[in-house]
């Protein structure tokens, strides 16, 4: 069996970044659980910071640069996605949203997605439910029930019900969703034959 393709989209801006740290922990947890089931996985991380200008240029020109295009294709071909953003001004960061604005609006259809976010205070944790989850639902992704939020204080908490427990639960959910999903297929561009296009118009007269 080919290794599964797990793509991590991470929108942290600093170096090092707590968003990237959370992304890596989620990816490790998913990879470990898949390994336990005897599945191999290739993890590909997309740091949106490195694509910031390319994403802005895509808005202006209507097409992606070669490096952005390669990442868009990776997202489209992924078996599952982990999407992690810092919470800015009560929502996902603008860069995070902009990236998903240039992803083709059918690219995530049926794709398992684990959503996660970081913030300075736990008070913003519901941004995951109010902003990220509806966005991925709009894109017809299948979003894991557990969304993982890490506030600054979580990094110092020791109890297993805390951050590490949530990471393990979310990773388990994503792994289950991946198991229930057939391997990624690449649909080729389909053309509706012209007679059919004409006939469709006549039928509705």
């Amino acid at each position: 069996m080919n290794p599964l393709k797990l793509v991590v989209v991470t929108a942290g801006l600093t170096q090092p970044s707590s968003t990237r740290l959370l992304s890596d922990r989620l990816a490790e947890a998913v990879a470990r659980q898949l390994a336990d089931e005897g599945r191999e996985v290739d993890v590909h991380v997309i740091e949106l910071r490195e694509l910031a200008v390319d994403i802005a240029n895509n808005f202006v020109t209507g097409f992606p640069s070669p490096s952005l295009n390669a990442e868009l294709e990776a997202v489209t071909a992924a078996d599952a996605l982990i999407a992690v953003t810092p919470i800015f001004t009560a929502s996902y960061s603008g860069l995070f949203k902009s990236f998903f604005d240039v992803v083709d609006n059918t690219a995530l259809t049926g794709k398992p997605v684990l959503i996660a976010a970081t913030g300075g205070t736990p008070r913003h944790s519901l941004a995951l439910e109010h902003a990220l989850r509806p966005m991925f639902t709009y894109l017809r992704a299948v979003v894991a029930p557990t969304a993982v939020y890490a506030a600054a204080e979580d990094w110092g908490a020791a109890d297993a019900d805390g951050l590490s427990g949530r990471i393990a639960r979310a990773a388990g959910e994503l792994t289950e969703l991946m198991a229930g999903r057939p391997a990624t297929s690449h649909a080729t561009e389909e053309v509706v034959p012209f007679e059919q296009q004409l006939a469709a118009l006549r039928a509705r007269q």
């Binding site: 802005a56 240029n57 808005f59 202006v60 020109t61 209507g62 097409f63 640069s65 070669p66 561009e189 053309v191 509706v192 034959p193 012209f194 007679e195 296009q197 004409l198 469709a200 118009l201 509705r204 007269q205």
Partner: protein
């Protein structure tokens, strides 16, 4: 192979001096540019159609009729004629009239238009763009070929016993190109009718247009019009030239950086790398344009976008001199080399008339 220019007809402030032409100045400039195209030996002039500022050409056949009266050889065309929001009956009549006035030097490129509000302004819905393009063109196609038409469709008042006048010149409808930036449905439509397919080839990387043209060629053969290589393909292109390429880059950069379509985005260098835009010496333009054949196959029509982004008329006319004197003669020679004998030329009124006469049995004429 045909070479020409196409224009959007935008009124744009010249970013180097802040001046903006009036609508009157811009319209007259477009006419001057068309006349210049014939003077420098180009084959085609095509105008866009728009119904919102900052664009001026809302009435293409009026403009093309005027240009027809002042030219001898130039083929007059559009880029594009809105098949979605125009009444196909009016398109049939306007372009047949233009054909008569221009003695057949007319073809037309269908397009859907991409400005949302234009649809409701003309009583249509942009979400119906493709069905409108399909139904309206089916009617237009019939109006030009049948003297008396009975018609019922989804989008337009039915017709009973309608004759579109004048009838096409010599009974030969204008050749039709279908322009598309992104829709495989339009490539399919062009292939079905055996019409031409024009890829704007300006905004996006060539790979995108290669897919569309590949699809069109394959479906053209599927519908029995010939081999894939015999399909009728047109391409856009966009150039700015000076004798020395550094001068071209220096002079064009402020226009590029502020261009309404792609300005304030990627650098001129990145954009020329990623799209068919060429800014440089005439030789660089020749080299880049010749690569189009490698990507898209032997093709029939090459149109260049020359007057946009606020370039002054004087500069555009200089560009046309360079295009006509130094670039196109070389391209004609080079494209003719190794061109397969069965690669067709772009259809003209004369060639279509000859074909039609050839198809009708002598006793029936």
């Amino acid at each position: 192979m045909q070479f020409g220019i196409f224009t959007v007809g935008d009124v744009t402030t010249d970013p180097t001096n802040g001046t903006t032409p009036t609508e009157h100045e811009r319209i007259k400039a477009m006419v001057r540019i068309a006349l210049k195209a014939e003077e420098v030996g180009l084959d085609v002039f095509a105008t866009g159609e728009h119904h919102n500022p900052p664009f001026v050409p809302s009435s293409p056949t009026t403009m093309l009729g005027y240009i027809a009266a002042r030219t001898e050889r130039l083929i007059l065309s559009t880029s594009t004629t809105l098949i979605t929001t125009n009444d196909p009956v009016k398109i049939a009549e306007d372009f047949a009239m233009l054909q008569h006035l221009a003695d057949g030097r007319v073809d037309v490129m269908m397009g859907r238009g991409n400005t949302g509000p234009v649809y409701p302004w003309f009583g249509q819905d942009i979400r119906q763009g493709i069905p409108l393009a399909i139904e309206n063109y089916a009617l237009l196609h019939e109006l030009w070929r049948k003297d008396v038409v009975d018609w019922k469709g989804r989008f337009r008042t039915p017709l009973q016993g309608f004759t579109s006048t004048p009838r096409p010149l010599d009974g030969v409808p204008p050749f039709v190109w279908h322009g598309s930036i992104r829709s495989p449905e339009i490539a399919e439509q062009a292939a079905y009718y055996g019409d031409g397919f024009f890829a704007n080839n300006i905004f996006w990387p060539k790979e995108h247009y290669m897919r569309l043209i590949g699809l069109y060629r394959e479906r053209y053969a599927h519908y029995g019009h010939g081999t894939p290589e015999q399909a009728i393909v047109g391409l856009g292109g966009q150039v700015f030239m000076r004798k020395n390429s550094q001068d071209a880059v220096r002079e064009f950069r402020p226009y590029f950086d502020n261009a309404p379509v792609y300005g304030h985005g990627p650098s001129l260098e990145d954009f020329t790398e990623q799209t068919p835009l060429t800014v440089g010496s005439p030789q660089q333009v020749i080299d880049k344009t010749l690569t189009f054949r490698d990507y898209f196959g032997d093709y029939q029509r090459q149109l260049f976008l020359m007057d946009h982004a606020g370039l002054p008329l004087k500069t555009v006319l200089e560009q046309l001199d360079i295009l006509g004197e130094e670039v196109v003669p070389v391209l004609r020679k080079e494209f003719a080399k190794d061109r397969p004998a069965d690669a067709p030329d772009a259809p003209t009124h004369e060639s279509l008339l000859a074909k039609q006469v050839g198809e009708v049995p002598v006793e029936a004429r």
